[in-house]
């Protein structure tokens, strides 16, 4: 739809959406997180943004919905529809290496495995510490400050840190 009247192009929409940060992890944006699945612009300029929740109960989702609408309406969109699709379910496999590096620089250990990897009971897996890069670490809790993270402690640099769970 590029150049067709006043409509915003799909490319421009993706660009605008990538300016919306995750409210809990502001170094990454919602397109990097894999929340935005599809952008559709119909012949009348009506925009539909298809999104998927990271975790079913993630409170950030309501913030995302508001911000997506506001961002597009502020930038010339006349009508924005949000559609939520649960399938395929969100996975950390959609995070690129660039995104994972951003998480690490921010102090959050990025997901290290594939979502389909089996984790048994009392797993003795050690996550690499995002601060000192060693893996003498210990799981403190499978659950953290947001649904997507678990709590860890580094036995070498004695820093607590969060791990973006493989999901």
């Amino acid at each position: 739809m590029v150049g067709n009247g006043n409509y915003i192009s799909e490319h421009k929409i993706w660009d605008l959406l990538s300016q919306i940060p995750d409210p809990d992890i502001p170094v990454i944006n919602i397109t990097e997180l894999g929340i935005v699945r599809q952008v559709i612009v119909d012949d009348f300029g009506k925009i539909t943004v298809v999104i998927t929740p990271s975790y079913s109960g993630c409170p950030a989702m309501s913030v995302f919905k508001e911000e997506i609408k506001n961002k597009l309406l502020e930038n010339g969109a006349t009508s924005v529809d949000l559609k939520i699709e649960l399938s395929p379910p969100w996975t950390t496999d959609w995070l690129s290496d660039v995104t994972k590096n951003k998480l690490k620089k921010y102090g959050i250990a990025p997901p290290e495995e594939h979502s389909s990897d089996f984790i048994g009971l009392f797993s003795n897996k050690k996550v690499t510490c995002p601060h000192c890069n060693q893996n003498e670490t210990k799981l403190t809790s499978q659950f953290g400050s947001t649904p997507c993270k678990s709590l860890w402690f580094c036995n070498l640099c004695h820093q607590p840190f969060e791990y973006f769970k493989c999901h």
Binding site: S56, G144, L151
Partner: protein
Amino acid sequence: MNTKDALIKYCTRLADNNLILGQRLAEWCSRGPILEEDLAMTNISLDLFGEAESIYEYISTLTDNHLSADDIAFLRSEREYSNTLLVELPNGDFAYTMAKQFLYASFAKLLYTSLLNSNDETLKGLSEKALKEVKYHIRHSSEWLIRFGNGTSESKTRVQNALNDIWKYTDDMFEMDEVDNELISTGIAFDLKDIYTQWNFSVSEILKEAKLTKPSNGLSIKGGYKGIHTEHLGHILTEMQYLQRAHPGAKW
């Protein structure tokens, strides 16, 4: 019963299980035995609320009564709730809560796994999503059962007493009626007898590892799917629905 009505009832049972268990777990907020467990229980509660909301939203697309997910959650009375009895039981101590979580999560995991083969695309998608979260829930509670069972005599006694007490409510999870029969015949849902066999096996495995005794089947209390509840559900709804009842239509 036609397929659509059966599907609405089936989904309501599933969503009510999630909502009521989520509400129960949320009661632990700020009361957990340690900070990490406080976080764990409220995180699991949040997952359950999210799963309930998605299912209520699906239900509202199936009905013509224009009720929103919030209306369904906050404006029904006790007899209209069709959750299984186990999820409404009071929390008791931490061991009691973990025993409940373990028995329910083991059921939920198998139920959602079966629904991956459902020919209702939405139910299948919801299950695919929920299953990823339930895996954390079952790992969390299984590990606690094993720790309690192999811990001190106090922890072992408490968790064993909890299992003995809760066991009579477990049969209710596997109750079936014309709703299930209709959905089984149309390939939307599956026979809970098969799920019971798998549940019995997986629960036994963890109890063995925890050196706990599986309670024997004796008294069994049922009725949740039919809206016949223990005295506890009314109290949960009183607290959960207070705001919407006192200030109808109030928005967050």
